[in-house]
Amino acid sequence: MGVDWIVIVEKSIFGAGAALGFGILFNVPNRTLIYIALLGLTGVCLKNIAIGLNINIILACFIGASAVGLLSMVASKSKHSPPLVFSIPGVIPMVPGIFTYKLMLGMIKLTGETGNNFDTSLDDTVSNGLKAIFILMALAVGVSMPNLIFRKESFHEMTILSRMERRVKLPRKVKRRKRI
């Protein structure tokens, strides 16, 4: 069991495409589009690496979402836009579409079935539904977590992050993101 890099690269590119499309739908400023695509790519990439390392899918989504939240704060500083402009389109590629769809199909089935079939449908539906709901919550909490941790009265006056950025962390972070 290892990490399948080709699949991860493919999915990361799809993640960038989805984030870009949603950025356009939300009418973000032109200068932020590239950062949004990079954020979508990073989030999906981290999520899939975490899944490849046998981490639970809910935790994996949480890791991806908090990375997006953290990077959106750095990006908002350098592009002078509020963090939510970056974080919301960046996190959308991780939304669990298939699980929600299966949850819905399962609920339709449950209204009509009886006997043994009912039990198997119930198992599938509950499992898919709980996954979908918890992934959605993990995404929402993960994205807002960095904002809550690093917040002071306002973003310009924040000392921790600006120091971090100015001295050491930002150059490294940018390099790491490019290598991915």
Partner: protein, 257 residues
């Protein structure tokens, strides 16, 4: 009866602040951000602002330091959707007010400029959102053919949603029409070619409608302690999600999957 200069100033500032706040609310900013922006502008002119924010109305009460003059008013907020160019522009404007000491006229002019900024061209918007739909299909493990179908379905779905908006249908109905059209389009291919793994296209064809901004903003609001606004947004997001599901269910019922 004419007002004194101080009365006129506080009134002019109050109206500007109400306009700023309602623009932020109807374009998808979180409650804490609205409060912060309005406080920043008001404090810069030497006033204290108190706010009561809901998603359809904004109440502002403005007073100077000695409490000699006060101004209170209520402004209705139009539900519009999401436009981050305005949110980002107002955030930058509030910093210019603080750092370069802008006057009331400059603020008004900037607000007018922000409202008149055009959206992305329609074809660009449609094709890039369709690209996002295709990417969702790829993320869910669909094959290239399914991605192409999903691209077309998202394109048509968003087109229907825009047209419905133009005819001023209820916003939830617009979502239902879009979801139904996209699902019917993608489902027709699944019905015609049953054994070619096109089900992912059907499942992901409606994902371009997901209410990302209300759901994430609701959690931000809930954690900030703005529980009332958080619940408002969560309910709004859930109604949209319900309408998407309804569109899918209708097409499932028609195609008998």
């Amino acid at each position: 009866m004419s007002d004194s200069p101080q009365e006129q100033e506080i009134k002019a500032l109050g109206l500007i602040l109400l306009r700023t706040g309602s623009m932020l609310m109807s374009n998808g900013a979180s409650t804490a951000r609205i409060r912060m922006t309005i406080d920043r502008i008001a404090n810069n002119f030497g006033y204290d602002a108190d706010l009561f924010i809901t998603h359809r109305a904004l109440t502002l009460s403005l007073s100077d330091k000695d409490n000699d003059h006060t101004f209170s008013s209520l402004k209705r907020t139009d539900p519009q959707g999401v436009n981050f160019k305005i949110v980002s522009g107002i955030s930058r404007m509030s910093w210019s007010v603080k750092e370069h000491g802008w006057s009331f006229e400059q603020i008004e002019k900037e607000l007018d400029r922000l409202t008149s900024i055009p959206h992305y061209p329609r074809l660009v918007l449609l094709s890039l959102v369709a690209l996002a739909g295709a990417s969702f299909c790829g993320l869910a493990g669909g094959n290239p053919l399914a991605m192409c179908i999903c691209f077309a379905a998202s394109f048509i779905g968003l087109f229907v949603r825009q047209e419905a908006h133009k005819r001023q249908f209820n916003i939830y109905l617009c979502v239902f029409f879009a979801a139904f059209t996209a699902a019917m389009f993608a489902g027709s291919f699944c019905k015609l070619y049953p054994n070619s793994n096109l089900e992912t296209a059907f499942a992901t064809s409606v994902l371009f409608l997901i209410p990302g901004v209300p759901l994430i903003n609701s959690f931000t609001d809930l954690f900030d302690g703005n529980i009332l606004n958080g619940m408002l947004r969560i309910v709004h997001g859930l109604i949209i999600a319900f309408m998407i599901a309804l569109g899918l269910v209708c097409s499932i019922a028609i195609y008998k999957f």
